[in-house]
């Protein structure tokens, strides 16, 4: 950052015309990155759609092991965190830095709540022998079902369903963790006084990333937990 000049509280790097040009460029870069995120998760959605079309009974059987209430709470948690993220940026814009810090902190906590719920969902499945793909322990799962008085698994390739489940929800979970890290970085920089109403590009970019994470979950929740 040694090639940037401070203009009105904004560190402008020398290869940009002005702060406005710098901000526009950063924004465009962020949106291009978001396009890759949409296509990455989108590709998984398309894969899910194809195999759901081919093996509807297997997908229905697998979906029985998902608890929609957990997914529902996670949806509310992420929507709330999107609000606090947007507010975090809003308060910097109106020069209420302390409120911004609080909002960013709450956003991180919401991400943590989401991951804790995810942890319980995953460990419950592992306990039953449910793992992705070939790692699915069918014997253990059937034993667990028999113990509960439930019929054994009918599908011959249930591991494929859980391959999709763990890959899609897992990739999303990794994004939540990365997002939490990025927001923590933003929080530290905000506390340090790096940002002001004229310069908050970093938080804006991280905010857009966090909203993408929320956006993906908005579609993932009905797909996995409701439609099944």
């Amino acid at each position: 950052m040694s090639t940037s000049k401070m203009i009105n509280g904004v560190p402008v790097q020398e290869h940009f015309r002005d702060a406005h040009h710098q901000f526009d460029t950063a924004k465009m870069g962020i949106w291009l990155f978001m396009v890759t995120e949409i296509l990455m998760f989108g590709g998984l959605f398309v894969g899910y759609a194809i195999f759901h079309l081919l093996y509807p009974e297997m997908f229905a059987e697998g979906a029985h092991f998902l608890d929609w209430k957990m997914g529902f709470i996670n949806t509310l948690v992420l929507i709330f965190s999107s609000l606090t993220m947007a507010l975090g940026i809003h308060f910097i814009q109106v020069n209420q830095i302390k409120k911004s810090v609080w909002c960013l902190a709450i956003t991180i906590v919401c991400g943590a709540i989401f991951m804790v719920i995810k942890y319980f969902e995953y460990t419950h499945k592992f306990h039953m022998g449910i793992f992705p793909g070939n790692l699915l322990d069918l014997a253990k799962l059937n034993e667990h079902l028999a113990h509960e008085g439930l019929p054994a698994i009918k599908s011959t390739n249930l591991g494929m369903y859980f391959g999709f489940y763990f890959c899609m929800s897992g990739l999303h979970g990794i994004h939540v963790l990365v997002g939490m890290g990025l927001i923590t970085w933003c929080l530290i920089r905000t506390v340090r006084g790096d940002f002001n109403p004229n310069y908050y590009t970093g938080i804006e970019g991280v905010g857009i990333f966090w909203h993408i994470v929320d956006l993906v979950w908005i579609f993932l929740f009905p797909l996995l937990y409701l439609v099944g």
Partner: protein
């Protein structure tokens, strides 16, 4: 944004991003309220999904689509974003649709021979 820029002169550039547009707090709260309500609606629709039949998935994703629009327009400020960035982001969804459309057409147009494709 390749043309010369004169401060905040918005009179001749309708696509100039209003990056200094500050969304009022009340708008954020209203959008969040709508998102919560739509989430409850999603779950409500699921509760009656047997009655909805095959339309259940469409309803679920239609509601998700509305929620997505609200998040994108207001939380991500796309409503106040330059046309270039909106086109860029929109293209992501366009190409996803192309991927989905061609893949599904492929699968659906295959013939089953002895139970397999």
């Amino acid at each position: 944004m390749g043309h010369s820029h004169h401060g905040h002169d918005h009179s001749h550039k309708v696509s100039a991003p209003d990056e200094h547009h500050i969304t009022p707090l009340s708008v954020y709260l209203k959008v969040a309220g709508a998102l919560f309500a739509l989430t409850f609606l999603t779950v409500g629709a699921h509760a009656i999904h047997e009655i909805l039949g095959p339309a259940a998935s469409l309803v679920a994703f239609a509601i998700a689509g509305v929620k997505a629009f609200l998040v994108m327009a207001y939380f991500m400020h796309l409503k106040y974003e330059s046309i270039e960035n909106r086109v860029i982001f929109g293209l992501g969804f366009v190409f996803l649709l192309v991927l989905f459309g061609i893949s599904i057409t492929d699968i659906l147009s295959r013939h089953f021979i002895a139970g397999v494709l």
